[in-house]
Symmetry: C2
Subunit: 448 residues, 2 copies
């Protein structure tokens, strides 16, 4: 059945009030598909759709919806049933839902929940956004090293529904400190009477609650883990981060880098409303507008030069554009490289030397090209030399600015992508105009 | 022990020829850490390091190294041992290693391998790059639906070493068609005498060998799978793609988008040599140089206007820059959005309408601002109006160009990121200069 046929069939079972049939179909659906069908359902059918779902399925459904639909769904369910659904949601997803809600709304949702679950999610929300503490779930199953494999599997069976998406059991000692980890695979391969301590993996790699989510993603990606344990400052196991969240983080961080590099403002997607999208983009554009005015003032300070050789204006956008472009190229390499490399002095020195080399190479090539073009076009050897010479220097400056500025920001623990996209465009505009008109003014008497 | 202490300790065991001690340490290491230590090892110790490793550990190590180190390692091992290591490597990693090697080198590596494994990897390499067929591994374990859980686990135990990183067993029928999937979790939760058919999940989501790797990543991300089965045109199971590869793909695809958006050329990282990096960047820069010359020609065709009102030059870089910038902002939103959304007519119409609205909003805001600034600065009301009016139109054009062009490319099945970064910059440069000087020339007599 296609998605559309499925939707129609589900609407039919809802209309005819056939709960068993409805449940049979829903049982085979992935939460993502269920959410797609729910979102596209006519409003009048949504109530019964939700009424027919079991609490645990509702929790799965919730985790796939966006915030607006989540709140709408809870509204339809009513306070009491909402509380039960929220109890079953993964902590990290719940924290994301509660984040940025009004205090009243948040309290009203929390009040319907079990004290234990409500406390757990509030604990998570105390950690700063984008840290391991914030994205972890506390739905892991712990065992003790003296358990046999059989005992471990028995405990796992009791808690399996609770810990749905987990692929390891975590071994803790009497102080709740993490001492080992056992995968489902290890359990299947072991004999029932073996002790956990003999099969567990002890050289555990974990992160702490305050580890940045980007670092968590890096570690999980490196080691091909399916989940990574999160410990507090005393090495006490407090949660785990699962690989499905890691994929979301990797996509989100990449999108953020692109947003920042293109100065397009925070989180604009296809659903963002017009005025919201405009408001998010405007700050950068206004900043760039003022920067444009600064460039204009620089040009105006060379008004005499420009008046005497109007042809200088023809090459102005090209020089500024090329400098901006080479800067952005270097910037993109550095910003993405910082994700994958361990940064030390050696790496940085090699990178800067390499980029200097690149700047000189592309500077030489492009400046010879443009000098020839300018000479043929304008018939002035000296104009060709001035334009070529300027481009040579501005390309080197642009390349180095695009390399060094993000590295400095990284060192100062400022995200190099956010500040340096527009910053580098600005600086490169100013550098290039100053260089170009500076050189042109020096040779003005030969240019006329 | 820190990484450095570990390295020193390992060198010590190598020097003193203590194989057992060496094996005890290595056993507890993750392949990634092992690879880091191997890479940093002085050349003279590498031979014995490799000599001390078992074949299966060598295969794990290989999978973490870059191509250069992989070839170096195989060289040290010699043909015979190399073959055994290659036999044990995951197909997809091996395909990546063999890709772009000279035919002689490739044949010499393949000749040392078992016929079965050598054929398997050659089969994979027949699929186009960046498809599911190319990134899948054939190391999955299949079972039959009439197996009991106990039988399934017994078969799994036999093949466990072979299928290391897999988290599901796949159920196939007598024609090798995929009919179900069972996770390790399902096996642990079931009773030994239950039949696979009663616990298997039948509404399988799979991809075909020719599915684009970006789509594979999207599906795995949506459904939070740990692996996804790959079938051929007859629904016969031929391999699986695992979540660890998905993370690598997501990072790679994001990097590619950034490279293309910033026109920085293919795969330049911190290790790329100077001349290679320069050569990869130059094509775009030279293209942009010629575009710059076209802009220059447009400006020169308005030379008379410019000569009479030199102040027009002051606002030229600002207008071109702003238009380029709003175009890039729209472009970034579209390129990344295409990854996460199912694209239909409704989505596209809404997006274009939204962006038109955004263009008008930012156009109004910025043009009023610049008109006031230009008036105050240059003391000419009409100049302010010309600059403001031009910016209004160019911002709308820039925003729409940044939205519509990537959508057209996407429809034509051209990657919207690659062609549209520089394309939009160009077009926007040309649009904005034509608009600006066109409007200025119309009002020339009032400007003087």
């Amino acid at each position: 059945m296609t998605q559309d046929e499925l939707s129609l069939y589900i609407i039919k079972t809802l209309k005819e009030n056939k709960k068993t049939e409805f449940e049979n179909i829903l049982e085979e659906l992935q939460p993502y598909d269920m959410a797609k069908i729910y979102e596209d359902l006519p409003e009048k059918h949504k109530g019964r759709f939700l009424l027919f779902l079991k609490i645990d399925v509702l929790a799965d459904l919730m985790e796939e919806l966006d915030k607006k639909d989540q709140l709408g769904l809870l509204n339809i369910l009513g306070i009491e049933k909402s509380g039960k659904v929220l109890d079953l949601m993964d902590n990290d997803d719940l924290a994301l839902l509660l984040h940025e809600l009004s205090p009243e709304k948040k309290d009203s949702l929390l009040s319907g929940m079990k004290a234990e679950e409500s406390n757990a999610v509030q604990d998570i929300m105390k950690y700063p956004p984008e840290t391991a503490g914030r994205i972890m779930t506390n739905r892991f199953v712990w065992i003790r090293s003296y358990f046999t494999v059989r005992e471990a599997v028995d405990k796992f069976k009791v808690f399996a529904e609770f810990a749905e998406s987990i692929n390891y059991l975590y071994v803790i000692d009497e102080e709740r400190k993490l001492v080992g980890v056992v995968s489902y695979r290890d359990l299947l391969l072991a004999e029932p009477e073996e002790h956990i301590r003999t099969i567990m993996y002890e050289r555990i790699i974990s992160v702490t609650v305050t580890t940045d989510q980007e670092v968590v993603a890096q570690i999980v990606g490196r080691y091909d883990f399916l989940a990574i344990p999160v410990v507090d400052e005393n090495n006490i196991l407090v949660g785990i981060v699962t690989v499905d969240d890691i994929i979301d983080i990797v996509i989100k961080e990449a999108n953020e880098d692109i947003e920042k590099l293109s100065a397009s403002g925070k989180s604009i997607d296809f659903e963002t409303k017009t005025l919201v999208a405009a408001a998010r983009r405007l700050p950068w554009l206004i900043l760039l507008l003022f920067i444009g005015v600064i460039s204009g003032r620089i040009i105006s300070s060379f008004e005499d030069t420009l008046k005497q050789v109007v042809a200088l204006a023809f090459f102005m956008p090209m020089i500024a554009g090329m400098t901006g472009n080479t800067g952005t190229q270097s910037l993109a390499v550095v910003v993405r490289g910082l994700i994958s490399y361990d940064i030390d002095k050696g790496v940085i020195t090699r990178l800067i030397t390499r980029e200097l080399g690149v700047g000189v190479t592309i500077g030489l090539t492009c400046s010879v090209l443009i000098a020839v073009i300018a000479y043929i076009w304008q018939g002035s050897l000296i104009l060709g030399a001035v334009v070529g010479c300027s481009l040579f220097f501005t390309l080197i400056i642009g390349t180095l600015a695009g390399t060094i500025i993000p590295l400095i920001l990284f060192r100062m623990k400022i995200d190099p992508a956010v500040a340096s996209g527009p910053l580098i465009t600005t600086l490169n505009d100013i550098f290039s105009l100053l260089t170009y008109f500076g050189i042109a003014t020096m040779f003005l008497k030969y240019l006329q």
